[in-house]
């Protein structure tokens, strides 16, 4: 499945990540940099006013849209079709790629240019087009870098090549594209630009994702900083936009709010360099209008969440604000999640779209610190959804030993007598392991703890006795 990254086990991927010093350095410095930029563009921007009000508005817009999804999807579809467009509702990733393949075959397309789109990564569109001998060109700089580096996978939903530094990019360009310049970012970008200019001109089909569709007018809104979405949708005669079925807003008024939330939360920009709004229309004998335009609306597991406790996950606008503050992502990076959707939203979304068998461990890759929930511009209760996933996961996949331990916990935590005995008996039980006032080599599950940290020895004396004694006029503690 195209959403999946790598074949190793979760802990295998984590081990690889933890040994990649460069990647980790890149992640933590990116997080620190983005935090400052986001602060400046949100809570510290006077023009914004109360950022919390913006978040509430964003949440309300997304909830309203999801609660009335059938209505708005129909409206979107009607308005898109009315002007001569084709709308296809794809139940699965395969349905979506097959549809695009058919269009490409019918148009005898050789060259396809693409603007950045996570949903096309999700469905494996590039591979599907290559299968029918199309040349696919990623035109977002980060995606371009990954593509020419033997189809490396994205490690961040907004900055897909975050795990690479400029020296690595220079080497990739040299090895794969006969680049002869230095690692200076301007030179690298100029080189990519020159390469891409050619491909834009030769494209038969332009493929984009969709940041938001506007139901009211049947429009597609795309945010970029490179203007490549404009190029992708201007040159070719055929345009195809692909969107997750939840990625729409009712009207342009809501688009305004959502675009603000997205660009400010994602990269700390007040607005992205380009906001490309497409309302294509068939025009006879026009050289400017597209000859054919398609909108693929993808389900691929999203409807699993509708009407369930996970519906709020569909509020996501893919800004990666949660990824950018996640202390787990900070250390393991994106690839360790094994999904193109990484970080807290990835740990919530991947099991919804791809199931627990494949992604059931991801919800545990969080200390539940709730930094994600706090950062989310549309107020998805991410850390709570991670707990909901865990509740589902343990029902089918919980380990017997852990189930027993938790059962014992439940019994112990509802029996004062058992608890009293446990508190009383613990110093003696732990005595063989205690060294001075701590434990360095604990038994059972404590072993994983004491491999890296000391564990406190059970306290001497009994608090309850002390408290009773004090009430009777006893003294202070030691």
């Amino acid at each position: 499945m195209a959403m999946k990254i790598g074949d190793k086990s979760f802990f295998g991927r984590v081990d690889d990540a933890l040994q990649d010093d460069f990647m980790r350095q890149a992640m933590s410095s990116a997080q620190d940099r983005l935090r400052g930029k986001k602060q400046a563009a949100t809570v510290e921007d006077e023009l914004v006013g109360d950022w919390e009000e913006w978040r509430s508005a964003g949440e309300e817009i997304r909830q309203h849209t999801l609660d009335n999804l059938d209505f708005y999807l129909e409206q979107l579809s009607e308005n898109f079709t009315k002007r001569g467009g084709h709308v296809y509702f794809a139940k699965t990733a395969e349905d979506a790629t097959r549809y695009v393949q058919e269009v490409a075959k019918r148009k005898n397309a050789k060259n396809v240019t693409k603007a950045k789109s996570m949903v096309t990564e999700e469905i494996g569109l590039n591979e599907a087009l290559e299968e029918i001998d199309c040349n696919v060109y990623e035109t977002d700089l980060a995606e371009y870098i990954l593509q020419i580096d033997d189809h490396d996978r994205p490690s961040h939903i907004v900055v897909p090549s975050l795990h690479k530094n400029k020296e690595q990019i220079r080497d990739t360009f040299r090895d794969k594209a006969n680049y002869t310049g230095t690692e200076e970012p301007k030179q690298l970008a100029a080189f990519a630009r020159a390469q891409l200019r050619e491909t834009f001109m030769q494209a038969d089909i332009g493929v984009t994702g969709c940041n938001f569709a506007v139901a009211q007018s049947g429009s597609i809104s795309l945010v970029t900083n490179e203007g490549n979405a404009n190029m992708v949708t201007t040159f070719p005669e055929t345009q195809i936009s692909i969107m997750g079925m939840e990625r729409l807003v009712p009207t342009w008024e809501e688009l305004d709010v959502m675009t603000n939330l997205l660009s400010r939360s994602a990269v700390g920009q007040k607005i992205t360099t380009y906001v490309t709004n497409l309302t294509p229309q068939l025009v006879e004998d026009s050289v400017d209008a597209p000859k054919e335009f398609h909108l693929v609306i993808l389900d691929a597991g999203r409807s699993n969440a509708l009407g369930t406790e996970f519906q709020s996950a569909l509020q996501c606008i893919r800004c990666a604000a949660c990824v950018n503050v996640c202390p787990v992502y900070r250390h393991i990076g994106g690839h360790a999640y094994g999904s193109i959707y990484q970080g807290p939203i990835g740990a919530v979304l991947s099991p919804i779209l791809g199931g627990y068998e494949e992604y059931g461990e991801l919800p545990y890759a969080s200390s539940l610190c709730a930094a994600c929930t706090e950062a989310c511009p549309v107020k998805i209760p991410l850390h709570e959804l991670l707990i909901r996933h865990r509740e589902n996961y343990v029902k089918d996949y919980g380990k017997t030993a852990e189930k027993m331990a938790m059962k014992t916990f439940g019994v112990g935590a509802s029996s004062p007598l058992l608890f009293k005995m446990a508190v009383k008996g613990m110093p003696a039980a732990m005595k063989p392991f205690v060294k001075d006032d701590h434990i360095e080599n604990g038994p059972g599950p404590m072993k994983l703890w004491t491999e890296v940290r000391d564990f406190p020895a059970p306290g001497k004396g009994n608090f309850r006795n002390w408290f009773d004694n004090r009430k009777k006029g006893g003294g202070a503690h030691d």
Partner: protein, 244 residues
């Protein structure tokens, strides 16, 4: 003011001195403290691991135990936040849900209670040290208590507080996370300890025994000369009495 102490299972088992300091500080501030004997654990280890039913058992035990309390005060933002989660945990049982809500509504973290209910910002403590403070995630993000600990610490005589870089990043405790995701947790606590070292503080003050157990465990294991104390231990220190 009548206050019921929820001491937390960690304090009761490992940090009895912290529990005693909490009692002494609150008494000095004029509270009449009782200790409901039925209390055990808030249930968070089970709840956060996905074992809802087992967590419900713990929650009901606690709701029963604190039924007659006016205020519930606990030296842990995380355990207090778990009490606040009881209405969600017991939402499908109308009778228990109402009782859960009542329990949640009267629950306060220790410093939160002092500052916002008792309206006291200076407890008259004195503790000469160069210290930094670890902002626990559940206290700041779930309880949304961001001011109380620093207000109280600012008024401790002799205590010089230093800023802690990346104080918003989790220390890597996360309850069962620390053992379930041991390799990741290790990296998180290591980075936390590095930031504490870089603050040049001799003392780390924390307001949650979970975080404290994790950070102190790593500091001690790696032999760093940094002391770790719970905020109750600082607030109960008075040079005249010698403190704890």
């Amino acid at each position: 003011m009548k206050v019921s102490l929820f001491v937390t299972c960690l304090s009761e088992m490992f940090y009895q001195n912290v529990a005693k300091d909490v009692v002494e500080v609150l008494e000095r501030l004029g509270c009449d403290i009782d200790f409901p004997k039925g209390q055990i654990c808030c249930g968070q280890p089970a709840y956060n691991s996905g074992y809802r039913k087992d967590a419900q058992k713990a929650a009901k035990q606690m709701i029963d135990s604190f039924e007659n309390s006016e205020y519930i005060v606990t030296p842990s933002g995380s355990c207090a936040a778990m009490f606040k989660e009881y209405p969600e945990l017991l939402k499908d049982d109308p009778k228990w849900h109402a009782r859960a809500q009542a329990t949640a509504d009267k629950t306060y973290e220790f410093t939160q209670f002092i500052v916002h209910v008792l309206k006291i910002e200076d407890v008259g403590a004195e503790y000469p040290a160069r210290a930094t403070y670890h902002t626990s995630c559940h206290m700041t993000r779930l309880l949304k208590e961001t001011d109380a600990p620093s207000l109280l610490l600012a008024n401790v005589k002799g205590l010089y507080m230093l800023p802690l870089a990346n104080n918003y990043d989790c220390c890597g405790f996360g309850g069962t996370f620390a053992v379930k995701m041991a390799p990741i947790s290790e990296q998180m606590v290591d980075e936390k300890v590095r930031h504490i070292e870089e603050s040049t503080a001799d003392l780390l003050i924390a307001a949650d025994n979970g975080c404290m157990m994790n950070i102190k465990g790593r500091i001690d294991r790696t032999g760093k000369p940094i002391e770790v104390k719970h905020i109750a231990q600082i607030l109960n220190s008075q040079t005249a009495e010698g403190g704890n």
